[in-house]
Symmetry: C2
Subunit: 458 residues, 2 copies
């Protein structure tokens, strides 16, 4: 078995029939695509993409594909790169919890760019997407955690395989060509964790999308690579990981679907803070709390929360993501913890700082990672408490379709009109019946003016 | 020192003055560029590049830069990729013997593409080239051999830094921007040895050129990466090597030049066979030998020769490169061992096979790797012997300028007219006085017809 990982994946991609997917994975694919689109649109005018476009646009090809949320159209390689990048810029995209791969970015960004150039049905798109994320996550399963511990950003390194596999399916590659495509992907697998905190982190996702797309197109022209690029002696699994279990690539392949274990972030920060935010939001809504009436917010949290997000006085939006104090405060004040709540301006807002300074947090090792206890004492002496056993977005308490649509609307608000936003939600709901999957991209073209877009960059 | 590798390289690239180069390294740069051009032109119609162009051309940008030896012009990214690839397709390019990096391909391919778009003097080009190869080879020195032993194709992984540094210099990047450029390069460093024997091996060189070029252009727009991408805990040297010596990056930086230890292959096969070929060629020329008069060719060679190239009956051109028997036979018959001598047709030629079968080889552990003894017995009983102490192309017996020009003419013969070939040689000789370095690329545009080009693919 272990000598045939690549060939097994190639056959899986080449021969799996659409009806072999479960209804659940098909539904999860549509949810993943909506969530991905929202993240990409939301970050579509961020400095990261502005700088990348300034650098790359003078050399780009024909206007074949959309940069989501913007007016520019570029060749499919640049569109895939830019959309992969924006979809991860807010670190708000989906997470395959077994490997912490963000599975949709590399795969959907490559597929949608191709679909704009080579029309394809929504159903075929979804099928290719499911196969691509399956390849990506299974390769991730085989090398996680040693691969990540060594220092690889696994979304970049596993993502390029997913993009190559998905595009390879849409292009109708043969078994041999799919082996070559996975090999051309393997030999470009890259992305260092050293880059976390810089613009290169989202770039990794864009590169995975573009490089996987190119790998499949090269393989279609019989551009050759190795026979065992994943499992070979000098192949991906041996060179980029200190331990590996290749049976995780092939065991029950075609019977189980990794996308069914995909998760979505309701809040634009690390998942460890989510239980505390969730509890604050619940109390705010149910008790009609206002910041001015609050004397103190007492949090009991898992030890990791203070280890990772114990910053008491964050100075920038990015630092705010590493502050459970800031996060609890904005949840109460704004009733939200989206990208807007982690802007530089918001972190410096005196009202936010005033409440943040009244948040206390203590560690409780008995709590699970997705649990938290919140106790809010008001100036008038009243006390409100809430125990969150499983935060929204966890496997036990997944975001509903309604939650995901609300998140999508929040992400699109600074970029698109409400009508345009609603049209995309509707198109995603019926995406499997679409005769032209690429049309989805063109629905996202920004209708706002430059001034609004500039404001949205913060 | 070890905590500042990246910053030291950035300062070296930003502040070194042209007059700080030695005359010797400046001369070696011109030799390296001529040799690189010849390899790229020679392979300019190989199946590898034909397939890559078929896959990528529909998505390429404006015709900004030349594909060496061809009529097509593409955006600078695709030109850099394709030229890097063709320059390594024959495995006939230069070698930095300390690391077995092929240093010129990634750096010159990126620089020349940019120079066609943003005019620059030959002198500035040479300076940037020397700085880029220095960065590339020093990073290689720091991680070799463990990095290579793990399974990385070091020309791909180190090459991307060289391309980024060289282009960064031409773009006038600041110290901070150069750190970012090296980081954007680091996080794309890739290329697996598993790919050897496939089209991906030369692709690695093209990817290094393109990705390094893009890294520098992104950094110019302040696209950020890490502060210590090479030496950081999750950086290049720790993640991609099991042992490293970062002092090799900084020791005597700016005082010694790695390009002075560069070497060139006179023959289109692995260096271990070169002493035997060299001796056969010498005897052929000096004694006027003809294959028909030869009864037996007896070779005494270093043990590695039979270990690596002991194939007695090669069936393809590629297998011919791994046959000391075929190599000795073509040296006698053709008086050459260039790409033409390693075509499928040549390996199957009955006259070649007839002589090949009269070659005997025995191992002599007392010989050095660049030595061989050749004894040829003729049908009339006469015996000719030759001991090669240092094969042509070794450090002790480098190819002369005349040798390099003859090699260049041989590589260009199937593609360009003699006049065009001579014009390129002349332009390279006076390259440091050129006011427009990019003009060199346009001199290589194929003047032959399709039929000739097709014949040259073999």
């Amino acid at each position: 078995m272990t000598t045939e990982s690549t060939l097994a994946l190639a056959r899986f991609v080449a021969y799996t029939k659409p009806h072999e997917m479960t209804e659940r994975v098909r539904r999860e694919a549509k949810r993943a695509i909506l969530n991905w689109l929202g993240c990409a649109i939301g970050a579509s005018h961020h400095d990261t993409v502005e700088r990348a476009i300034a650098a790359l646009a003078p050399f780009a090809g024909p206007p074949q594909a959309t940069v989501l949320g913007r007016h520019e159209r570029f060749d499919i390689f640049h569109a895939a790169l830019l959309n992969g990048m924006t979809s991860h810029t807010f670190d708000f995209d989906d997470t395959h919890l077994r490997t912490i791969i963000h599975p949709t970015g590399p795969v959907a960004s490559a597929l949608l760019a191709l679909a704009e150039h080579t029309p394809v049905s929504g159903d075929a798109f979804i099928h290719a997407f499911v196969l691509g994320t399956e390849v990506e996550c299974r390769i991730g399963n085989a090398v996680y955690p040693s691969h990540y511990d060594v220092g690889w950003h696994i979304t970049g390194t596993a993502g390029v395989f997913g993009a190559a596999a998905a595009v390879g399916r849409l292009l109708g590659l043969t078994e041999q060509q799919l082996v070559w495509a996975l090999g051309i992907a393997a030999t470009q697998a890259s992305g260092l964790r050293e880059m976390f905190g810089s613009m290169c982190k989202p770039l990794h996702v864009g590169l995975a999308a573009r490089n996987g797309l190119q790998a499949a197109l090269l393989a279609k022209q019989d551009f050759t690579s190795a026979a065992q690029p994943i499992e070979g002696r000098r192949g991906f699994a041996n060179v980029l990981a200190t331990e590996r279990d290749l049976s995780k690539i092939t065991d029950r392949l075609g019977e189980t679907w990794e996308l069914e274990a995909n998760s979505y972030k309701p809040f634009a920060c690390g998942v460890v803070v989510h239980p505390a935010i969730d509890g604050c939001l619940q109390l705010r809504t149910e008790e009609g709390l206002a910041a001015a009436s609050i004397e103190v917010i007492e949090l009991r949290v898992h030890p990791l929360v203070l280890e990772l997000t114990g910053k008491k006085a964050p100075r920038t939006g990015l630092e705010g993501k590493f502050s459970v104090y800031h996060s609890a405060a904005v949840a109460i004040i704004d009733g939200a913890a989206g990208p807007a709540q982690y802007s530089d301006a918001h972190v410096a807002d005196p009202a936010v700082i005033a409440l943040r300074d009244r948040v206390r947090a203590t560690v409780d090792p008995a709590l699970s990672e997705d649990a938290a206890h919140i106790r809010i004492r008001l100036s008038d002496g009243r006390i409100h408490e809430r125990f969150v056993a499983h935060a929204l977005g966890s496997i036990e308490n997944p975001m509903s379709d309604g939650d995901l649509e609300a998140k999508f609307r929040g992400l699109c608000a600074p970029i698109l009109s409400e009508d345009a936003t609603q049209a995309i939600i509707a198109a995603c709901r019926r995406f499997d019946t679409s005769t032209d999957a690429g049309a989805l991209a063109r629905l996202t073209v920004s209708q706002h003016r430059t001034a609004d877009a500039t404001a949205a960059r913060a």
